[in-house]
Amino acid sequence: MKNIQFYENDKIIKKGYSLVICEKPEAAKKIAEALSNNTYRTRKIMDSIVFNLNYKGKELIICSALGHLYKINLTKTQSKLPVYNYSWIPINKPKNKAVIINLKINLIKLLSKDAKEFILACDLDQEGETIGYNILKYACNEKQKIAKRVKFSTLTEKDIKNAFSNMQKHIDIELAIAGRTRHAIDFLYGINISKALSLAFMSFSNKYKTLSIGRVQGPTIFYVVENDLQIETHIPLPFWRISAYIETAENGKTTWLKIEYIKEKIIKKIEAEDIVKNCKGEKAIISKINKNNFKISPPVPFNLSGLQKEAFKLYRFNPYQTLNIAEKLYLKALISYPRTASQKLPAAINYKKIISDLSKLPEFTRMTNSLLKKKRLSPTQGKISDNAHPAIYPTGKITKFQLLNTEKKIFNLIIIRFFKLFESPMTGKIILIHFNIGKYKFLSSSKKIKKQINSKHNEGNEKHLNFQIAKKFNVKRIKIKENFETAPRPFNQITLIEKMEKENIGTKSTRANIIQTIIDRTYIEGTKLKSTPLARALVEVLQIHSPLILSSKMTREMEKQLEEVENGKTTQEKVLTIANKNLSLIIKEIQKNNKSIGKKLFLATKNLVIIQSTNNSLSKCTICKKGDLIITSNSRNRALICSNSVNGSCVVKASLPRFGLIKIYKKSCMTCLWPKIKTAFKGKPWIFCMNPNCPNKVKRKR
C-alpha cells in the first residue's frame, strides 16, 4: 500500500499531526466546523472525506468510522458445540458494506502512520468507547493506551471547543473492555444456543431452520409468552361496588351528588345486598370533612426511555424509530446526546441562552417570552443520573435545512418538554367528605387545581365547600354495580421496554433493538405484542430442558458483572469464564434432549403455517381441496404453498415473482389442475400456472 501524505494546494502538511477519530462522518464534519470556524480543508481519500485544520497551533486531521468497523467472529469453525474461541475481525457482511468498511479501515491505517497523537472523539458511552478502542487497537496498531479522549454531550461549537480544551489523557479502557466483553458474551450465547436449537430441529425433521435466541432475547420472549398465557387463561372474578345518590341544594337548585361506599371491592354479593337493604330509608349525614393541599410538579427531563414513551404515546413511533430520529437530531447538533439514562440537567448548559436561542422559532415565541421574563430559571430534575451525559435537551441551535416531518415531531417534543421543566408546579386542593348512611360509611371526593393548565384535572367542583359536619341529606337512590377483575394488558413496545428496565436486562441503547430483532424473527407480532406459536414452543421446550436461557436472573447477574468490569472490580477473563460455564450447561441440556426439543419446535413451526393459512388464505388448494393457499416469504424470495404441504400431504409449493401483487386466478390450469396466478409484469397482466413441472411449460421449453 502506498504511503499517501496528506496535503492541500500542493503544500505538504508537516508530519506528526493529531489524528481525531470520530464515530460517524456527520460528527467529524461538525467537529471540523466547530474547531476551525468553518475554515477547514477537506480531501477525499479512499472515498471518504478527511478534514484538516489548525487548532491552537496543532495540525488536526479528522477522520470518521461508520459505527462499528470490527465484529466478533469464530477463530475456526468447528461442528462440536459449544465453541468458545473468537476473535475481532473487520465487518465482512453484507458485501457492499464490507467494501466501504475495508476502505475506512485502510484509510485510518494510512493516516495513523504519520500521526504523533491520537484523539478519540466517538460517542461518549460503552459502544462509542468500544468502537474507538477497536479502531485504535487494530487499525492504528495498538494505540489504545496512548490515545487521548474528548468528551462532549452535544455537537455544538461551545461543547466541542470545551472538550478539546479539557482533553482527557486516556480513553476509558475499562469501559471499552466491558463493551468488548458484552459483545463476546452475546456472540457466544447467540451462536451456540441458536446452533444447538437448529441442530435439534434438524435431528427430528431432517430440515434446517434458523432458530436464533440470545442472552437478553430469551427472557424478553419469556415475558411476552407468560403475559399472553395469563391473558388467555384469565378467569374474571366478580366483585361489587355500591354508590348512593344524595339530594343537595345549591343556589335554589336541587342536584344529585354521587357518593361511593368506602370499600372499593365487595367480594360477596350477599354482603352488598345487605348493605343496600340496611341503607334504605336512612339519611346521609356528614361525619368528617378533610381538605388537603397537593402539588403536581412539572415533568422531569427526558432520558431515552422517557422520550421513547412520549413519542409512542403521541405519535405511535416505536422505540427503535424514536432512537434513530433522535440520533439524527444529535448529529445535526440540534439536541444533546440521546442515549442517556439521566433525568438531570446541569446549570452549566445555560438554560437562558438556550431559551432565547429557541425564541427565534415563531411557534415557540409565546412560551419563550413568558420563560425569559422569569428572574430565576430552575428546571425540575428527575431521580436518575448518568455519569456520562445529562438528560436530553435542545442545544438552542436552529437548522437552516428543513427537517423531515418525523424529525420535527421529535424535535418539538424535546423543546416543549424543556420549556415545561421551568413551569411552576400546579397546586390544588383535594376535598374528602365522609358520610354515614346508617352504620355504613360513604365517601365523596373532588379535586380542584388552582392553576388550570390541564383541564383533565379540573373535574372537581366547589359545591363541597358549603358542606358542614352533621348536615343531613336525603338518599335518593342506592345501587349495586357488578364488576369483574380484568386480565393483564398485552405488552406494547413501550411496556415491554419498561419490563426489561424493571428486570434490569439489556441496556438503554440495546432494548429497542432487541425488541425489533425478536419481531423480525417472528417470535412476537402485532402492535399489541403477541407471542407466536414458535415463541410458545420455544419457551415451553426451554422451560423444561434449559430454563437458564429464559431466566432474567442469569442475565441480570451478568449485567452486574459487566458493570464490575467497567468499574475495574473484576476482569474480562473472570466474567467470560462464568459465562462459558453457564453456556456449557445450557448446551449440554439441549444436546441431551435433542430429539424431543426438535420435535416440539418442528410441530410449532407447522402450527405457525396453519395459523398463517387461516389468517391469510388466498383460496382453497385446487389439488388437495383441503389446504389453504398462502404466501410465505423471507427477505429475498417468496413462495406460494398449500398449508398441507408442510406435513407432506399436498405437493403444491412453488416460488413466486419477487415483486407485484399476487392473486389466485379464478380458473385452475387445464393441463395439470394446479392453481394459476395472476400478477402484472411491466404493467401488463400476466397469468401463469404455478406448477414448475406443468406439461405445458415443459413442452414450450422443448
Binding site: L229, E232, H234, I235, L237, F484, A487, L603, N607
Partner: protein, 76 residues
C-alpha cells in the same frame, strides 16, 4: 399422533388437553369455587354461560368452555 382436543399441540399424559388448555381448565375449576363463594350459589352451567358472555375471559378458557358446555361431567 394424538393431539390436544382443542388444538394441534401434544396433550399432557394425564389429560385430553395440552398444557395451555389444561391450565385454562384448571383455572376454570378453581374459578368456579370462587364464583360460587362470591355469588353464594351458582350452578356450573350458569357459570360457564356468564364467562362466555364476558369479553375479558381468556381465549383458551372460552375454548375449554365450548368443549365442556355439553359435558355435564363437572363433579364439584
Amino acid at each position: 399422533m394424538k393431539s390436544c382436543k382443542l388444538c394441534n399441540n401434544k396433550p399432557l399424559s394425564s389429560s385430553i388437553y395440552c398444557i395451555y388448555h389444561e391450565i385454562a381448565y384448571n383455572n376454570l375449576k378453581s374459578g368456579y369455587k370462587i364464583w360460587t363463594d362470591r355469588y353464594d350459589s351458582l350452578d356450573w352451567k350458569n357459570y360457564l354461560r356468564k364467562l362466555l358472555e364476558l369479553s375479558t375471559t381468556g381465549k383458551f378458557v372460552k375454548q375449554v368452555i365450548m368443549e365442556e358446555k355439553d359435558n355435564c361431567g363437572h363433579k364439584e
